[in-house]
């Protein structure tokens, strides 16, 4: 088998496995996933064993090793910086939106409250206003006002929380990647 045939066969097998996994997930039949993935790997390995030409030699291995190490270094440094920046949106006060609440007691003893959201790290003012809502009567607020009241702060911080979650996910992924690298490093260190 030629190298191009092997690559084409691998591509077809990968596409078929992906389609089967997608279908099984949609259909809720998880048994197909358990069968399809190992079967796909076996087929690809069998094709690889029948390739006539040399697929990878010591130079190729060294190139891959160096490329993988450089990739790991860059991803680790870049990813750690990105994770810290993203997570800082959750804990940093200047990056969080400024939300103010103004309570007004009217002459008829009615209490109204205006909640206003301003741009992150800005001085509250008309130029930095993002949105504002007023609950006319705190003691007899209707359902939509109650909903607004409950979700206002959460809505304001949602973008920051999403970034924080992305930062945490990235940080966790980096930690797992480094742990796997460390495990393989120790394994090969003992082997050679």
């Amino acid at each position: 088998m030629k190298r191009t045939t092997y690559l084409a066969a691998s591509l077809i097998v990968a596409s078929m496995v992906a389609a089967m996994v997608g279908w099984s997930m949609a259909a809720g039949n998880f048994l197909v996933v358990v069968i399809a993935i190992p079967l796909g790997i076996i087929v690809v390995l069998a094709c690889r064993a029948h390739v006539d030409v040399v697929m990878a030699d010591e130079r190729e291995t060294r190139i891959r090793s160096k490329a993988a190490l450089r990739t790991l270094e860059i991803i680790t440094i870049g990813g750690a910086i990105a994770a810290v920046i993203l997570y800082s949106y959750v804990v940093s006060v200047p990056l969080a939106p400024v939300i103010t609440g103004k309570l007004v007691i009217h002459d008829d003893s009615r209490q109204s409250m205006t909640i206003t959201e301003y741009q992150p790290g800005s001085v509250p003012g008309p130029g930095t206003l993002v949105r504002s809502t007023t609950i006319d009567d705190l003691n007899s607020m209707n359902e939509s006002e109650a909903m607004t009241y409950c979700t206002y702060v959460r809505e304001g911080f949602r973008e920051n929380e999403e970034r924080g979650l992305a930062g945490l996910t990235l940080g966790f992924t980096l930690a797992v990647m480094l742990a796997v690298f460390g495990a393989f490093y120790l394994y090969y260190g003992r082997k050679y």
């Binding site: 010591e58 130079r59 190729e60």
Partner: protein
């Protein structure tokens, strides 16, 4: 590390592809070795020497000035 692979190949009327096949590497590896861009392993070095039926020292020459400890990473 200097080598005489190109000369030995010419003497044996062997192409890069043929040599690569005989020692079990890709043609690109042979090209890189001939250009002194890649330093082969001892195993591959001995295999190449065996193909040409010569001593490994007749194929590869170690140059102290060039092959310092840092040369591997360059």
């Amino acid at each position: 590390m200097k080598n005489r692979i190109r000369v030995l190949r010419a003497e044996h009327e062997m192409t890069q592809e043929q040599l690569a096949e005989l020692v079990g590497v890709t043609r690109n590896t042979i090209i890189s070795i001939e250009k002194d861009k890649y330093c082969p392993s001892l195993k591959l070095g001995f295999r190449i020497a065996r193909i040409f039926n010569v001593d490994i020292n007749d194929v590869f020459t170690y140059e102290d000035d060039k092959d310092g400890p840092a040369s591997e990473d360059e």
